[in-house]
C-alpha cells in the first residue's frame, strides 16, 4: 500500500476497479501481440502447405531450377544464396562486432565508450534501403573494380550485412561480458593475471553462451534482411560458385516476385516464406538454448 502514489488526503489515487480495468487492458494488449504470430503463421502455412503437398517438399527444397513461367519451382539456389550471403556477413561482422563489444565492456575509457556505443546503436536506425543504396553505388563498383567482374555478388551482400548486424553483435556481446559476476574479474586480477589474460581466460569463456546467442541473433537478422540485399546481390537464381558470383536470396525471391505472382507461383512464394520462417525460428531457438545454458551454470 505504501508504494502506491498518495493523493492530498493520503488516500491512494487509483481506485481498485480502475486498476482492474487497466490490468484487463494490459492483458488484451498482450493477447493481441501474441495473436500476431498465430495469424501470420496460419496465413503463410495456409497458402504454402497445399503447394508443398502437391509438388513435394523435398523436390521444392532441393530443386535447382526456378522457372515460374514454366511451372518449375526449386529453391535450392536461393537457400544456398541466403546461406552464402549470411556466412560472408558473419565472417566479416563477427570479429569486428565482438572485438568492439569486448573493448567497450572492459578496456574503453568512459569518455570514449559512450560515443562509440551510441554511434554503433545509430547504425540500427538507418533504413535498410539506405544501406542498399550505399552498397549499390559504392560497394558494388568497388568489388567490380577489384575483381573485374560485375560486382553484384555474395561479397557485396556480405559487406552490407556485416555493417547491418553490428548493432546486434555489439550490444548483446557487451551485455554478455558485462553480466559476468564481478568476483570472477576481481579474483583473476587478484591472482596477478593481466587485464588481457583476465579477458581471454575468464570473462570471454564465462560469457560464451551470451556471445554465441549474439552471433545467432545476428545470423537471424542477416537471413531475414531483404531490401539492402536485393540491391547488391544481383538476384541470379543460380548456385553461387565463388564469393564474386551473383546470388538470389530467399527474401529477395519473395520481395521481387510477390507483386506479380498469381496461382501456383504465388503459393510457391508463400512456401518460400515457410522455409525462411523455419530458418529464423530454428535460429531463435538456438539463441535461446544457448543463453539458457548460461543461466544453468
Amino acid at each position: 500500500m505504501n508504494r502506491q502514489p498518495l493523493g492530498t488526503m493520503g488516500r491512494p489515487v487509483v481506485s481498485r476497479p480502475a486498476e482492474r480495468v487497466a490490468e484487463l487492458l494490459l492483458l488484451l494488449s498482450a493477447i493481441a501481440s501474441a495473436a500476431g504470430i498465430i495469424f501470420i503463421t496460419a496465413f503463410v502455412a495456409g497458402s504454402g502447405i497445399p503447394f508443398l503437398a502437391r509438388t513435394g517438399i523435398w523436390a521444392f527444397i532441393t530443386g535447382s531450377t526456378w522457372r515460374p513461367d514454366h511451372g518449375v519451382f526449386g529453391i535450392f539456389p536461393m537457400i544456398a544464396g541466403s546461406a552464402a550471403v549470411t556466412a560472408c556477413a558473419l565472417a566479416l561482422g563477427t570479429p569486428l562486432g565482438l572485438a568492439t563489444a569486448v573493448y567497450l565492456a572492459e578496456f574503453a575509457p568512459r569518455r570514449l565508450a559512450a560515443p562509440v556505443r551510441q554511434s554503433v546503436q545509430l547504425l540500427a536506425g538507418i533504413p535498410s534501403v539506405v544501406y542498399g543504396f550505399y552498397g549499390l553505388t559504392v560497394l558494388v563498383p568497388l568489388v567490380s573494380r577489384v575483381s573485374s567482374g560485375p560486382g553484384f555478388s555474395v561479397l557485396a551482400g556480405g559487406m552490407v550485412l556485416a555493417v547491418m548486424v553490428l548493432p546486434t553483435l555489439v550490444s548483446l556481446g557487451e551485455d554478455a561480458i558485462a553480466s559476468v559476476p564481478p568476483e570472477y574479474r576481481e579474483g583473476s586480477l587478484a591472482l596477478g593475471a593481466t587485464r588481457w589474460q583476465t579477458m581471454m581466460g575468464v570473462l570471454v569463456p564465462t560469457a560464451k553462451p551470451g556471445l554465441v546467442a549474439a552471433v545467432v541473433l545476428a545470423m537471424g537478422r542477416a537471413v531475414g534482411e531483404t531490401m539492402a540485399v536485393i540491391m547488391v546481390t544481383g538476384n541470379v537464381a543460380r548456385l553461387p560458385s565463388s564469393l564474386l558470383s551473383p546470388v538470389y536470396t530467399l527474401t529477395g525471391n519473395i520481395a521481387l516476385e510477390m507483386g506479380y505472382a498469381a496461382g501456383d507461383h504465388q503459393q510457391a512464394l508463400f512456401a518460400t516464406g515457410m522455409v525462411l520462417f523455419a530458418f529464423i525460428m530454428g535460429l531463435n531457438f538456438l539463441a535461446r538454448a544457448s543463453s539458457r545454458g548460461r543461466k544453468k551454470r
Binding site: D69, P150, M231, N235, V236, R238, G259
Partner: protein, 271 residues
C-alpha cells in the same frame, strides 16, 4: 473502400449542387472528389505530374497515384480497387474487357555505360546479347571484356515489352543480374563499366548512354515517325468508358496541355 469513396464523392457532388444553388461560385475548375490511380511503375511518374497539375487547376480534387506494376494495375481496375489502372504494355487476351485509353507512348532504350565505345547495335545483336550467345563486347565492336546483362524482374511491364519486341521466342539468359525498377537498372548500368540494360525513354539520363538500334536512336521524334520500333503504349484502364471526374481527368491528360507535359517528361504524345 470503394464504397466509402463513392459515397464521399456523392456527398461532395450533392454539396457542390447545393452550393451552386445558393449562388456561390464553384471552385475554379469546378471538379470535386478523389481518384485513385494504380499500376505500372513506368507510368507512375507521368501520372504524378499530370495529377499534380490537375489538382492545381481543381483545388477540390484529390488524386492518389500508386505503383504496383502493370499486372497489378489491370487487377486493380478489374476489381475496382482503383478508379484508374495504369499499364505500360498491351493487355494480354485474358486481360481484355476493360476500357483502354492510350495516354502516351514510350520507347525502350538499350543503355550502356557512358565510357562504352559501342554506339550502335542491330536488333539481332541485342537479341543475341540478352540470350547470352554474344558474351563479349568484342563481338559487337567494343573492347575484349565480358558483357554484364541487367534484366528486370519477372512480371515487369518493361521486361514483358522487351521480350515481346526484341527477344521474340528466344530465351533470356539466366545469368542476367535482376534489378526491380527503372532507377535501379539505370544506377547499375551507370556504375558498371561493362553493363547493358534497358529502360523507358523517360528514364534516360546523361548518367547512361542509349545505343541506336539498327541505326535509329531512341528519341521522341523517331518514335513519332515510326522509325524506332521498340515502343509501347501507356494505357489508362477503367472498368467502363470513363465518366464524371475520371473522365474530366482523362480529358485533361489528352488535352493540349496534358500532352505537352507528356513530351516534357521525355515521352511520346499521342495527340
Amino acid at each position: 473502400m470503394l464504397c466509402t469513396s463513392r459515397f464521399r464523392l456523392l456527398l461532395v457532388v450533392i454539396a457542390a449542387l447545393v452550393l451552386a444553388g445558393c449562388g456561390k461560385a464553384a471552385p475554379p475548375g469546378g471538379h470535386l472528389g478523389t481518384i485513385t490511380v494504380a499500376g505500372s511503375t513506368s507510368v507512375q511518374p507521368l501520372s504524378e505530374v499530370l495529377s499534380q497539375r490537375f489538382m492545381e487547376l481543381n483545388p477540390g480534387v484529390r488524386i492518389n497515384v500508386q505503383g504496383g506494376g502493370s499486372t497489378a494495375g489491370v487487377k486493380a481496375a478489374r476489381e475496382r480497387a482503383a478508379d484508374i489502372g495504369q499499364s505500360s504494355r498491351e493487355l494480354k487476351p485474358e486481360e481484355k474487357g476493360l476500357h483502354e485509353t492510350v495516354i502516351a507512348r514510350d520507347a525502350i532504350a538499350i543503355i550502356v555505360h557512358p565510357s562504352n565505345p559501342v554506339r550502335e547495335l542491330t536488333s539481332a545483336q541485342v537479341q543475341a546479347i540478352f540470350a547470352g550467345r554474344l558474351a563479349s563486347w568484342k563481338d559487337v565492336g567494343g573492347p575484349d571484356r565480358a558483357i554484364v546483362l541487367v534484366n528486370r524482374e519477372a512480371g515487369s511491364g518493361t521486361l514483358g515489352v522487351f521480350v515481346e519486341l526484341v527477344m521474340g521466342k528466344d530465351q533470356l539468359s539466366d545469368r542476367a543480374i535482376v534489378q526491380n525498377s527503372t532507377g535501379a537498372v539505370r544506377t547499375t548500368v551507370s556504375t558498371t563499366r561493362d553493363a547493358v540494360g534497358y529502360v523507358s525513354l523517360a528514364g534516360l539520363t546523361p548518367e547512361v548512354k542509349a545505343v541506336a538500334i539498327d541505326g535509329v536512336s531512341p528519341t521522341i521524334d523517331n518514335v513519332l515517325a515510326g522509325k524506332y520500333v521498340v515502343s509501347r503504349p501507356f494505357i489508362y484502364l477503367t472498368p467502363q468508358a470513363p465518366e464524371g471526374l475520371v473522365k474530366a481527368y482523362i480529358d485533361f491528360v489528352l488535352s493540349a496541355e496534358g500532352q505537352a507535359m507528356v513530351r516534357k517528361e521525355g515521352l511520346v504524345p499521342v495527340r
